[in-house]
Structures are given as structure tokens and as C-alpha cells.
């Protein structure tokens, strides 16, 4: 379990070398200008790391959430969160590899693995966030095509992606027995005629932006269907579990990044005669934050292990996402506190981590919905909604 320790150390070493070149300063510069991160993405592709969720026959190194979690955690520990590792590497590659037809796999997987193509993932709608089965975007079959109408919101990275992995209804909700039925996954090109997008006013300090997407009679070939028509929830669950594990790793890494800054500062900053790190009022919260980060990391790698073993990782992926997000927030919060007023400056660069760390409590799935899942599916309590 937890992957081969030496392999893990080698992946971390790779990330440290890579971020020596494309590190936090590079990322911050792109976050300020809302620019792309093509250079580091290209390097990751060249060195084979974007194939971490792609089977070997399609140019990858075999699907491994364990390795992806290590990669993400370490990149974020170095202050370089790459959102596309969530939305392309986890959420697009895995459903396509597991559920896509041969043509789709040939067309997209090698390009994901070498970094030449990126996907964004579109499920959320104005009336379907936590209640994702409420989606109304509809893909109507017409001959060899689907014709798509509807709207999506908060779609990250649309402007940098070549394709959208779209979750749409192929049967209206009132014509299916269970709400999760009648949902399908489709690959749509971001430049498809009839598809337009507007940037949204999300205030996350990161290079990636969010977009509202409008589908006005967008035609895609039937062959672009991922998995069975109307049974898209299977592929969707794979995508969402992979997403939760990757996001947990991201939250843990960001927490480590902020906390390590605080620790260094607490060793040298003297307010009265001793370094502030000697005060238990700060030392204990930092020690607790570190402990919670390690616990969350452990759960993340356990969830990845269960996922890689081909078992249902839902329970652990949800718990990891909860634990990761909470630990990340706790760590960033104490890191700000330790820095006092300078914790709020761009130079110290911890307040800049706060929006993203805080985001991960609510997105991609809100804390309340995770706890609902655990209450209902793990504890067997009755459902209230």
C-alpha cells in the first residue's frame, strides 16, 4: 500500500527539480496575469507524468491514482497547484480510459499523456450543483449526431482546453425511474459551432478561470459518447472519486506549503526575547495542523490505493476530500496567524493561498454533501433530502 516508498521519493525528487525551474514564483506570475502554465505542463508531459492515469497501450504508464496523488501533493507542497491535473488527468483521462470506445481512446488518451491536449469538465449548472442529477442540459439524438442545448456554469479552464467532457441528459428526468439514469458523458470540442462562453467573476488566486458555457444546438458525433447512453453515472462516479482524491492531495500540499513558511518564520521572528515558535500558543496549533495534514494525506493515499485496486473508493475518497480540505484550511489559517500583519502581504505569500484552500471545502463537492454521503452510505442513517 501507499506505493513503493522509493518510487514515491523519486517522484518527489522529480517535482523538486521541476519546481526549481518552474516554481512558486512562476506560478504566482501566471496567477496574477491569468496566463497559462504551458511550460511546466509541457515538461510534465515530456517526462511522462501526464500519462499517470493513461493505460500503457495509449502512451501512458498505467492508471495510478497513487502516483497522481503523490505528484499533486508534492507540486502543491512546492506552491504549484495545477488544476488541470484534476480536470484533465483525473476527471477526463480516467472515464475515457475505463468507459470510452476504442476510437475515443486512440484519439484522446495519447494526447492527454503527452500534454498536447487538455480537457475541462462540465457538470455544474445554475440549478444543479450539489444536486448534480438535476442537470437539464440535453443531448438529443439525431441520426449519427447528438444535438446539445443547455447551460453550464463555473467551468474551470475552458479557455485553455481543447475539449469539454460534458455531462448531459439524454433522457429527461421525468422519464426515468431513478434520477441518476438518463445521464450521459460526451466529448465536445471547445471550438464547436454553437458553443459560446463567458468568463465568470470568481476570485480565486490562480491562473485558471471559470466560465459559463452556452450550448446552442451544438452537434457532436454519436461516437463521442463515453460509456453507455443513459448510464453515464458509472463513468461520472469514476471521475468524481478520482477528482476527490486529487483535490484532497492538493489541499494537503497547499497546507504543507503554507505551514512550512510559518515554521521557518516562527523560528526566527522575535517579538519579546524568544522566537515566537517557542510559544505554545503558536507551536501547538502548528503541531496540530501538521498532524491533521499527515492524517489527511494518509487517508488520501488509502483512497488512492482502494481506487487503484479497482474497488469502490467512494467512502474513502469522500473522507479524504473532507479531511484534506479541513486540514488545508487549518494549516493556512495558522500560517497567516503566525505571520501577524505581514501574513496579509503578497510578499509573504500565504494570504494568497487562502482563497484556494478555502475553496476546497466547498468545491468540487461541498463539505455538507460529503457528510451527507458518509451519514447515509457509511453510517446507514436516513436521508433528509
Amino acid at each position: 500500500m501507499f506505493g513503493d516508498l522509493q518510487e514515491r521519493e523519486l517522484i518527489r525528487e522529480f517535482v523538486r527539480q521541476l519546481t526549481a525551474k518552474y516554481g512558486r514564483a512562476y506560478w504566482v506570475e501566471r496567477a496574477k496575469s491569468k496566463g497559462h502554465l504551458d511550460e511546466i505542463w509541457h515538461e510534465l508531459g515530456k517526462a511522462g507524468y501526464l500519462g499517470v492515469t493513461v493505460p500503457e497501450e495509449y502512451g501512458g504508464s498505467g492508471t495510478s491514482m497513487t502516483r497522481l496523488a503523490i505528484l499533486m501533493e508534492e507540486l502543491c507542497t512546492q506552491g504549484v497547484p495545477l488544476l488541470f491535473l484534476v480536470i484533465t488527468t483525473a476527471m477526463a483521462a480516467i472515464p475515457i480510459a475505463r468507459h470510452g470506445n476504442e476510437e475515443l481512446k486512440q484519439r484522446y488518451l495519447p494526447a492527454i499523456a503527452d500534454g498536447s491536449k487538455k480537457f475541462c469538465f462540465a457538470v455544474t449548472e445554475p440549478d444543479a450543483g450539489s444536486n448534480s442529477f438535476n442537470i437539464r442540459t440535453f443531448a438529443k439524438q439525431e441520426g449519427d449526431y447528438y444535438v446539445i442545448k443547455g447551460q453550464k456554469v463555473f467551468i474551470s479552464g475552458y479557455d485553455q482546453a481543447q475539449h469539454v467532457l460534458l455531462v448531459a441528459r439524454t433522457t429527461p428526468a421525468d422519464q426515468v425511474k431513478e434520477k441518476r439514469h438518463g445521464i450521459s458523458l460526451l466529448v465536445v470540442d471547445t471550438n464547436a459551432p454553437g458553443l459560446s462562453a463567458h468568463p465568470m467573476d470568481t476570485q480565486i488566486f490562480a491562473p485558471e478561470r471559470q466560465f459559463a458555457l452556452y450550448f446552442d444546438e451544438v452537434r457532436v458525433p454519436r461516437a463521442n459518447l463515453v460509456g453507455e447512453e443513459g448510464r453515464g453515472f458509472r463513468a461520472l462516479f469514476d471521475a468524481l472519486n478520482a477528482e476527490r482524491i486529487t483535490v484532497a492531495a492538493m489541499a494537503v500540499g497547499l497546507g504543507r506549503f503554507a505551514l512550512q513558511k510559518a515554521v521557518e518564520y516562527a523560528k526566527v521572528r522575535k517579538v519579546f526575547d524568544k522566537p515566537i515558535g517557542a510559544y505554545q500558543g503558536l507551536a501547538h496549533p502548528m503541531a496540530i495542523a501538521r498532524t491533521h495534514l499527515e492524517l489527511a494525506s494518509l487517508m488520501t493515499h488509502y483512497a488512492a490505493h482502494v481506487f487503484d485496486a479497482g474497488q469502490d473508493a467512494g467512502m474513502y475518497a469522500n473522507m479524504a476530500k473532507y479531511a484534506g480540505a479541513e486540514a488545508g484550511i487549518e494549516a493556512v489559517d495558522i500560517a497567516i496567524e503566525v505571520h501577524g500583519g505581514s501574513g496579509f502581504t503578497g510578499e509573504v505569500d500565504v494570504i494568497t493561498v487562502w482563497p484556494m484552500a478555502r475553496l476546497l471545502r466547498t468545491v468540487p463537492v461541498a463539505r455538507e454533501m460529503i457528510l451527507n454521503y458518509v451519514a447515509e452510505h457509511v453510517l446507514g442513517l436516513p436521508r433528509s433530502y
Binding site: D4, Q6, E7, L10, L18, A47, G51, V52, S61
Partner: protein, 249 residues
């Protein structure tokens, strides 16, 4: 072509080194160990030579404790084919290291030994030269460019005040300088393959060599803290102080 690359484990150049209070060595708790950066350049060069020639074998060797496997594994992940760990936990001086390497060379019969010009921990800059002498092979130290054709090797060396080009037949020993190349990252497939590559362990006692140190480290001391400077108010005052106080002019 068979290329042998000796490597050494050293503290990460980014770590702050502390000398043990008794002066017998450095504090090793919490130190991150890495491949000596010059040796990493040597691995990269060996891999490039192999790639250019289209065939060959890159063999790594290190002399140290069992845990030095980690650095060998990193080199294997970069693409080296196999590795040898001469297991030793006693202090060895540069000549002893060169003797062990000469023995490994005798067994492995490489066409080229390529190694760092010095290790960044003790900065001795001796082993490559000693090894070439023990083997009776040509040597080219401080290489900034290496070309090989038909068992003739051309090396551009970085020397004081310029560059020197030397040509010699193989087998030979080359030591690498900083500007020779930029070492590659260990790719993910490389890391996965490295797990299955062989690391042969040879206890140093089995080599039957006289390794008694000729060199003894008496004590290590951190360099003295720099004193704070002093501001002077005029050029006249500066000249005056340099003359009367520092007595340098």
C-alpha cells in the same frame, strides 16, 4: 560501448551544514542526501553518449552504506542500466576510493569512466586523476564538451583563462565540469523501470585491497562569522585607515 559512472552521495547543496561540536564531522540529522551534482552531469553525459551511439550500457557504481542505494536508484531512474554498490561503512580517503574503483574497472572493463570533477562535500578533486593513474589510462578533467568517434575521444576542458581541447584513445577517464550539460529529470516511466533494475552489492572486504587511510581528518571547523563592516565618511579617511590601521597601503 560500456560506460562506468562512479557516483557519490552528498548533502543537498541547499542544506545549511553544521559541524558537530566535537569537530569530527557534520551533523547528519535531517540532511537530505542527493547525488553529487557533478556526478549527475556525468550520468547525463553517459546517457547521451549511449543515445548518440544507439547502443551501449551505462553502469553506475558507488562506495558507501546500504542506504546509498537511494542515489543509485535515482540514477537508474534517469536511465542508467544497472548499478554496483560496494558496501562500506568505514571512512575511506581519496586514494582508497580510487583503488576500489580501479578494481571495479578491472572487473567491468568499461570503455570509458566518466565522473564528477569533485564532490561538493569535501571538494577534493582527486579521485578521477588518481583512478586514471592507477589504470594507466588517459584522463581529461573538467570536461565541458565530449565527442566520441571510432574509439577516439575529443574533450574540451575548462582551464584557467580559457578552453583546451584534448584528443586521446579509449579507454579513458573523463571528469565533468558544470557546463557540460543539464541533467534530465527522472521520467515517470524511468522511475517505474528503475525498480526492476539490478543493484549488485559487493562487500568492500571481498575486494582484498589495502584501504588503510593515508589521510587523516583532524578536525572540522565552521568558517569564522564575518565581522560587521564599518562605514567611513570620506575617501581621505579610508586611505588613512588603510594605511595606519589595516596597514595594506
Amino acid at each position: 560501448m560500456k560506460l562506468l559512472v562512479p557516483i557519490k552521495r552528498v548533502p543537498d547543496p541547499a542544506t545549511t551544514i553544521q559541524v558537530r561540536p566535537d569537530g569530527t564531522g557534520i551533523v547528519t540529522d535531517n540532511i537530505k542526501w542527493v547525488i553529487n551534482p557533478f556526478d549527475e552531469i556525468a550520468i547525463e553525459e553517459a546517457l547521451r553518449i549511449k543515445e548518440r551511439l544507439g547502443s551501449g550500457e551505462v553502469v553506475l557504481v558507488t562506495i558507501g552504506e546500504k542506504s546509498w542505494q537511494e542515489q543509485l536508484r535515482t540514477g537508474l531512474a534517469m536511465g542508467a542500466d544497472r548499478a554496483i554498490l560496494v558496501v562500506n561503512d568505514k571512512p575511506l580517503d581519496t586514494l582508497a576510493i580510487a583503488r576500489v574503483l580501479a578494481k571495479v574497472v578491472a572487473d567491468e572493463k568499461p570503455d570509458l569512466v566518466i565522473m564528477g570533477k569533485q564532490a561538493i562535500d569535501d571538494d577534493s578533486n582527486q579521485v578521477g586523476q588518481m583512478l586514471a593513474e592507477l589504470l594507466g589510462w588517459p584522463q581529461a578533467t573538467f570536461a565541458s564538451k565530449v565527442e566520441i568517434s571510432d574509439s577516439v575521444c575529443t574533450v574540451v576542458r575548462e582551464v584557467d583563462g580559457g578552453l583546451e581541447t584534448v584528443q586521446f584513445p579509449l579507454p579513458a577517464v573523463i571528469t565533468t565540469d558544470l557546463r557540460l550539460n543539464e541533467p534530465r529529470y527522472a521520467s515517470l516511466p524511468g522511475i517505474m523501470k528503475a525498480r526492476k533494475k539490478e543493484i549488485k552489492e559487493i562487500p568492500v572486504e571481498n575486494l582484498g585491497l589495502d584501504l588503510a587511510p593515508k589521510l587523516k581528518i583532524k578536525a572540522l571547523k565552521a568558517p569564522p562569522k564575518r565581522q560587521a563592516g564599518r562605514k567611513v565618511s570620506s575617501v581621505q579617511e579610508l586611505v588613512h585607515l588603510l594605511h595606519t590601521e589595516a596597514k595594506v597601503i
